[in-house]
């Protein structure tokens, strides 16, 4: 299991060091600094073995988190834990920076003591941790309070405490999708997939049981013909009725065995915000944008670039925060850009032309042309032409994902499904959205 956990700043100074196992000594702290942080070559692997000691590291801006072990540990678990650890820290004191870590080091030790025991990860749910690890010294708790805490930490429903009350029972569902695309210069889709997340904010009293319905092909087919009729009322004939989800994953509150056998998503949600589900689709994705690049090298000192962006969704919808990033060669000396819509700028420090369009309607087309002047260099190697990338946000789900229902049952308290106010929102964002040129 994990033998020790260290946090360093970018200089390699130790900010936090917690050793769990006897086989990890102080010299391990230095070994990682010398061999990884101060290594001259760029790190080639997130796992490093130095003198029979294995170091797992992740980096958050300038901060290095390293878990150390001498045993054959579960590597996936160690990385999952390190990421969870940063989430917990972020939930407590915001961004994980050197400043914040130094200011909260006592708190961090306290957390580390709780979430890792002898190197075994324990409950890392921030909601629960916050009930008994607080920054304001602990007031003496009553017996009921402490036993409630301990039953939550270890409980079967470790993510929700009892006795939650709201005057208004309300829930928010965000369907957040990120569209990933790799397209060839000729417009052929090399790979495309949507990574979706359902984020739920629940403000519900008691221990509500929720049932969640989506338009997944498999789930709907297993429900028989009845659901087919439900779909009819949607009216929008262009949208598909069901989609093929390649794979989905759920928050630990979802009863996986029930999903496997009955194809239903049922759960008792944590209080507040959490990620209910993740999914991935690869079929029939409606790509919101297409880029048509035209790059021409005119002699050794000049390049001409012409980029056309086409939006491909209902004209009534508006895309926001559209940004196209066109890489330029390292020996660029000057750039002239003309664009019809939005603003485009050459950013020398980023070696790219950045073209921003605040809003763009569906079924539109915009164009940018640029002339790039190049310096003469001796460098024989050809410029490798990194792909043109794009960022955007659209108010629909490119995968065609639809929430069909979310029913709430709370048998003990007297509110019914109809009394719960429900909100659903769809946002499609760009993931890695690249077109080769």
């Amino acid at each position: 299991m994990i033998g020790g956990l260290f946090i360093y700043n970018h200089k390699g100074e130790v900010l936090i060091s917690r050793v769990y196992r006897d086989d990890i000594g102080r010299n391990a702290v230095d070994a990682f600094r010398v061999n990884v942080i101060h290594a001259r070559q760029q790190v080639r692997s997130p796992v490093t073995n130095i003198a029979r000691t294995s170091f797992f590291h992740i980096k958050r801006s300038n901060i290095w988190l390293a878990a150390v072990t001498k045993q054959n540990v579960n590597a996936a678990m160690v990385f999952e834990f390190l990421h969870k650890m940063t989430d917990v820290m972020a939930a407590y004191f915001g961004k994980v920076t050197e400043e914040n870590i130094k200011n909260n080091f006592v708190l961090i030790y306290e957390i580390l003591d709780e979430i890792l025991d002898f190197g075994y990860p324990q409950n890392t749910d921030t909601g629960i941790l916050k009930t008994f690890i607080t920054q304001q010294g602990v007031k003496s708790q009553t017996k009921e309070e402490t036993s409630q805490i301990t039953s939550q930490v270890t409980g079967q429903i470790g993510w929700r405490r009892e006795g939650i009350k709201y005057r208004r029972n309300e829930l928010f569902l965000d369907v957040l999708e990120s569209v990933n695309l790799l397209m060839s210069p000729q417009g052929q889709v090399l790979s495309a997939h949507v990574a979706g997340r359902i984020v739920m904010k629940s403000y519900l009293s008691g221990m509500p049981e929720c049932k969640f319905g989506i338009n997944d092909k498999v789930l709907m087919e297993s429900k028989g013909g009845k659901s087919g009729q439900d779909e009819g009322r949607g009216g929008a004939s262009s949208t598909k009725t069901s989609i093929a989800i390649d794979d989905c994953q759920f928050h630990q509150c979802v009863k996986l065995s029930k999903f496997e056998t009955e194809h239903s998503i049922s759960f008792i949600p944590p209080d507040g915000e959490f990620e209910l589900m993740r999914y991935r689709t690869t079929k029939d994705i409606s790509l919101p944008f297409r880029i048509i690049p035209l790059v021409r090298e005119v002699g050794r000192q000049k390049m001409e670039v012409k980029i056309v962006v086409k939006s491909n969704f209902k004209p009534s919808l508006l895309a926001q925060k559209v940004e196209v990033r066109i890489p330029t060669p390292l020996n660029t000396s000057g750039v002239q850009v003309i664009c019809m819509k939005g603003k485009a700028k050459y950013k020398a420090s980023e070696n790219a032309i950045v073209w921003k369009i605040k809003r763009m309607g569906g079924m539109k087309e915009c164009q940018l042309s640029a002339e790039i002047e190049l310096l003469n260099t001796n460098d024989k190697r050809k410029w490798t032409r990194p792909p043109i990338s794009m960022n955007f946000e659209v108010p629909f789900a490119p995968s065609g994902f639809k929430v069909r229902y979310l029913k709430v049952f709370e048998p003990k308290l007297n509110y019914s499904d109809h009394d719960v106010i429900k909100w659903v929102r769809y946002i499609g964002r760009s993931g890695l959205y690249e077109t080769r040129c």
Binding site: N74, A75, E80, G137, G158, F259
Partner: protein, 931 residues
Amino acid sequence: MTDSKYFTTTKKGEIFELKAELNSDKKEKKKEAVKKVIASMTVGKDVSALFPDVVNCMQTDNLELKKLVYLYLMNYAKSQPDMAIMAVNTFVKDCEDSNPLIRALAVRTMGCIRVDKITEYLCEPLRKCLKDEDPYVRKTAAVCVAKLHDINAQLVEDQGFLDLLRDLLSDSNPMVVANAVAAISEIMDASPNAASVLEMNSGTINKLLTALNECTEWGQVFILDSISNYTPKDEREAQSICERVTPRLAHANAAVVLSAVKVVMKLMEMLDTGGDYVTSLVKKLAPPLVTLLSAEPEIQYVALRNINLIVQKRSEILKNEMKVFFVKYNDPIYVKLEKLDIMIRLTSQSNIAQVLAELKEYATEVDVDFVRKSVRAIGRCAIKVEPAAERCVSTLLDLIQTKVNYVVQEAIVVIKDIFRKYPNKYESIIATLCENLDTLDEPEARASMIWIIGEYAERIDNADELLESFLEGFQDENTQVQLQLLTAIVKLFLKRPTDTQELVQQVLSLSTQDSDNPDLRDRGYIYWRLLSTDPAAAKEVVLAEKPLISEETDLIEPTLLDELICHISSLASVYHKPPNAFVEGRGGLRKVLPPKSEQAEGLVEELGAQEPTAAPPQPTVIPGADSLIGDLLDMDMGSGPSMMQQQMYPAQPAAPTPAGGSGGMDIFGEGLDNLLGGGSTGGDMLGGLGDIFGMPQTQSYVPPQEVWLPASKGKGLEITGTFARKNNQINMELTFTNKAMQPMSGFAVQFNKNSFGLMPAQVINIRTPLPPNQSASTSLPLNTQGPIQKMEPLTILQVAIKNNIDVFYMSTHVPLHVLFMEDGEMDKKIFLATWKDIPSPNEVQYTINNVPHNADTVSSKLRNNNVFTIAKRNVEGQDMLYQSLKLTNGIWILAELKIQPSNPSFVLSLKARAVDVYEAVKQVYENILHN
């Protein structure tokens, strides 16, 4: 004065100040001071001097302060064991506190203080906490048992904590169960004694599967990892476990997913391969694996390393998912390299066009390693997918045109392999390759180019000039290049003997006389002699048709692969090495995949396949360029020390001189023959070669099989067995006889630690089920890499045999001669020196009676068992044989055998530095000579 004075003074002052603050009356000030102490501790300052003052702060009802003091204690208790005792009282008191959080904190911390005196006090509180009413305390106590076991395993076993821990597996709280499982797994790994108490059975597995649905993500990982160590008793149980584990594949935590994959991959071995259920499992595995590739890059990396294994084991799982492994521009380099590996493994005729387009794209990227690997990948595609070979070659040619130095070199290396796979097909491109001769500066590329020139010498007009140009800097070249150059020039000579004699003469003398490298020198001699004795034979040997190289290179060796599959998700799977390669000490058991279940086995048998695990027979194809035969004949690109490094024959007394003076017309005439030591050399040489190539050794002594396990003790299973050494390999010959009423199956063998580290090199391969009243024999290869413990007597080997009925233990004697090494022949001089060197008290004499042989048969008999006669003397009518032998653990034993012609009793004197082995060696002599 230097600045250091400020340093020391401030430090002194600081400690002093902290001391005062720690003893302050004000609570706030105290807390601040402890915080400062912890901060200093973190950055590595030594604040152990404050121990008593900090411990004084321990008794407080402020939980935060208490935690800080505990943290300090854990760090420094070891350096101040006596003072640490001061803390014991508080701990014991805290373990009784009404607040469960404090009880748990106390027991958690106490387990981390590794001071013997404290552990004694820990036992009672721990026992109480294991039965605490609060689950939070119980889950903490469960882990504490593992901590205590790490400090003092004996104590844990004596105090009965193992039973208490096992009871926790039935706890009502899932997190307690999960932590108990984690603790049990660790304890079982560390100590084999505990393993017997904590062994899992189907009942406990059932409890775990129930807890699985309810515990935290981490708990699920512990449970799944533990289940993966369990071997179900039959196919039905395996399937039911699979059914209950597969829902975990949809978990958001990658570790849960991968651990579930591990369990399923392992249990699939037991299921009927062609069955619907396996097909549905295979379908279920792909999506979650693909999803892992959208996780954080570090997790992607772990996933990719594991996918690499999974694809090698069961390629069908991801065969349709090629696209997800396409490299993204912003992927970290470690993800890119791993993806590339998997892409090549998944390449097939159906997706080759896409793959090739991608690879071409990658070859223009920035990172040198990545580009090289991409170029190499194109070559591997050509070898793997024949119809696409032409496209691959033209892609490689395009890349060579870029003139980017490392791209060109890499391309040439792979083109060499393509030539070997498709002989006489793409030679038209040789001209293009030759254009780039000057830019090659890496040994592997140079060697490859030289190989190409040598192989196709007849088609390259100026081959002699090209090779000659390389020869100029011969001494400065890398060995790999030198060897290639030597071979290439010999090939050239055999193809165009008329105008290349001078060249071959030159290279032979360079390799044999001017080089210190034994590989090169020996290869030079071999060629020289071949050419001089029989040029026609030389032609047949050197220009022999080479076996084709196989398409799959760098596959992991199957037994290692199976072991790694059992370690999916762990570090071993990331390193692609077995755990004992990077974990110290504890030589934990090797994990092996479960044997195929009976039903599946039966099916295979019906189909007529005798060995279900046998590798596909491919007689003409050798696995990759670095196979042994390939090496000796021709190639040693990048391979490790080859067979050549063994000294093939003693150094030549008279080194051949260049025959320049004789006009060079007939350099392989008699003059040279004489120089080389006469006409008989050729014959001797062949004998020598026979040895080198590992010609089957003549019969070594195999003792008759003995009954090791009588049926009465084996619940109907009778085992007879013996040991044999065949072709450098120790084998345990076993015959199983089923004298019971029911069929037997599920055989497994394990050895206890023994004097020579013997352990099975593979899983026992025996036909199951074994029907009543039938026997089956098998030969189990052993190696000597197991854990070592000196036994009394030395040769004893304790073996445990398991079958579907029970586990049986038996004790056998290993005849020492199976441990005699093939290289046990000592040089005469060294023998003499060693004999003198070993003090005479170490010498022991035995008499061996009634030997029906003379000196020569004795020495040949012993020779067959790797006892080497180094010298023979005749002193006053009696023969004296001086012999040496070497054990697998490197111990040398010298012997003197006195034989009188008329007397059938021989006198054996033994000398060795380790006297314990004498008795066993004598036994061997007895056995062999009386046989």
